[in-house]
Amino acid sequence: MNRYKNLVITAIMSGLLVIATACGTGGTENAGKTTGAGEGNKQLSGEIKIDGSSTVYPIMEAVAEEYQMVQPDVRVSVGLSGTGGGFKAFIAGETDMSNASRPIKDEEKAQLEKKGIGYSEIRLAFDGLSVVVNKDNNWVDYLTIDELKKMWIEDGTTKKWSDIRKGWPDEEIKFYSPGTDSGTFDYFDEVILDDQPIVEKATLSEDDNILVQGVKGDKNGIAYFGFAYYLENKENVKIVPIDGGKGPVEPTNKTIESGEYAPLSRPLYTYVKNESVKRAEVYDYAKFLIENASVLAEDVGYVRLPKEEYQKDLETLEGLK
């Protein structure tokens, strides 16, 4: 019985310890905030909730991180439930901004309208979908959009390189693609697949690093993923220039920004709730976001938009104030 009492005491003590640790750290955090408040000229406070695409997340994380240094009292939280999941929360009125790696769909628009939620689209950066093959693949010099379609759309046959273009080896192509939940897949689906099923034998993975590993270790491998993953793995894979009708173009910061690398470059968005912009802290954050998106997006591996685009974004924002 005595032992049992001891146990209860131990349990209570450890419970208290956990709470004390949590509160203790919370306290110091608070102290840090108040000292920061005296320094700025106009200190805002409030809460900004952002959710959505995990592709856009690194940009938002960078912006929120920088903003925290300017306005430490504004509580910004950024989630990554995915583009679709983000919109669901946005429609439910839970978030102030929703990140998306594709434009808003019609049914999502309709639902927002039904709920009476006004929104504005802000474009943040470009991502160039990069098609890559193995380093030892010495036959692919470029691919046209038709050839990409021929490769990636399921038609019941086993795809060989020789089927795609004459003179290419008679070997089976190994496909690696982002998972069907990702915005990257959605975009590829829209531009290349046209809603037709993707090759059955394709290896799907939500983690783009696995796609890189797949192509790196397979001479007949081909994959597509975000530009940032290509930038990090230039030594491991070979980029394929894409011919969108005006000759082969390789994705680079320049060709993506200018729009030459079409149709595989996609804009990244955030959708902001008009009503939220009326709150000073949301307006301030959105302004900070547009002003710094170009630099911060490139920091995390995306491509900046042309200057006029950001100017347009700013004008949209001013109109909402």
């Binding site: 019985m1 049992y4 949590a22 960078a62 983690d207």
Partner: protein, 292 residues
């Protein structure tokens, strides 16, 4: 007449010894397989992540610059989650186990509950995430708070805790109960003073193993819509927060190599937390274990 034919025994002996050796080797390999994989995992994350593991890593917020990134909010958030999930799930779980073992009559209804609890233990965690999203986050309006996540996680690990507690309560010898009743104790007195103290090592071992699972889960929390970047810590259970596994998952899926190393450092911290929790379980078990 001899009952044992020694020539026959000698003839079989070699074969039996060989058989014994073969099984010994097979079982040894089976044991080593898990250990080997664990060894490789530990070696990989230690060589990858040790470099980033320092005090700054524990005190910094997430950042786009790997050298400045840290897990402060995620680590504290995980501790909060355990702080809410542990009492909730233990109270509900032990309560259910006590009812089923000590009070409930053996009938169809009890069997039905029993089967469902066992089935629930096999439901994928993401389903609990969806349930939590509709029920706690949306319907009850708790938002992505510590409480909503704690309730979801409690539901997730309840079946395991219930089954473990039932086992522990069942293994308390009948004669102890009977002795207690014989001395004139009421049912409640018997439960509180005899059954529970004897069952507590088993209950806590099961409970802490279940909690270890809860702090390693990512999927249901992502479904709940928990944010990942937050610059503030929760002050009450109604505040939003983030957890360690989500941060680790995000870092592993980033393109830059440095973030993979950060993920490894995060895994080391999570492993240390798990080891501490499991050691507490072992300590408690050893301390309160009685032999009958």
């Amino acid at each position: 007449m001899k009952l044992i034919d020694h020539t026959k025994v000698v003839g079989h002996m070699n074969q039996r010894l060989v058989k014994n050796q073969v099984y010994k080797v097979i079982f040894f390999i089976a044991t080593m397989f898990g250990l080997l994989i664990l060894g490789i995992l530990l070696y990989r994350i230690l060589t990858q992540g040790a470099h980033y593991l320092n005090l700054d890593f524990l005190q910094n917020l997430p950042s786009r610059r790997p050298e400045r990134a840290g897990i402060k909010t995620a680590l504290i958030g995980t501790i909060w989650l355990v702080g809410v999930t542990a009492p909730l799930s233990l109270l509900l779980g032990v309560g259910t186990a006590l009812y089923l073992e000590e009070y409930a009559k053996k009938n169809r209804f009890t069997d039905f509950i029993q089967v469902n609890i066992s089935n629930l233990a096999g439901v994928p965690s993401i389903v609990f995430g969806l349930l939590g999203l509709t029920l706690f986050v949306r319907a009850l309006g708790l938002g992505t708070s510590v409480l909503a996540a704690g309730l979801t996680m409690s539901l997730l690990i309840l079946p395991v805790i219930i089954v473990a507690s039932q086992e522990a309560i069942r293994s308390v010898p009948k004669n102890l109960r009977e002795a207690s009743f014989g001395m004139g104790a009421t049912k409640w007195q018997t439960i509180v003073r005899v059954v529970l103290p004897a069952a507590i090592p088993g209950i806590l071992t099961g409970g802490i193993l279940a909690l270890s699972r809860a702090i390693g889960e990512t999927a249901p929390l992502v479904v709940l819509g928990l944010p990942l970047f937050i610059a503030f810590l929760p002050k009450t259970v109604f505040d939003t927060f983030t957890v360690l596994p989500m941060q680790i998952y995000n870092w592993t899926s980033r393109p830059q190599e440095e973030f993979h190393a950060l993920a490894a450092a995060g895994i080391i911290v999570l492993l240390i937390m798990l080891i501490i929790m499991n050691s507490i379980a072992v300590l408690i078990r050893n301390k309160y274990q009685k032999r009958y």
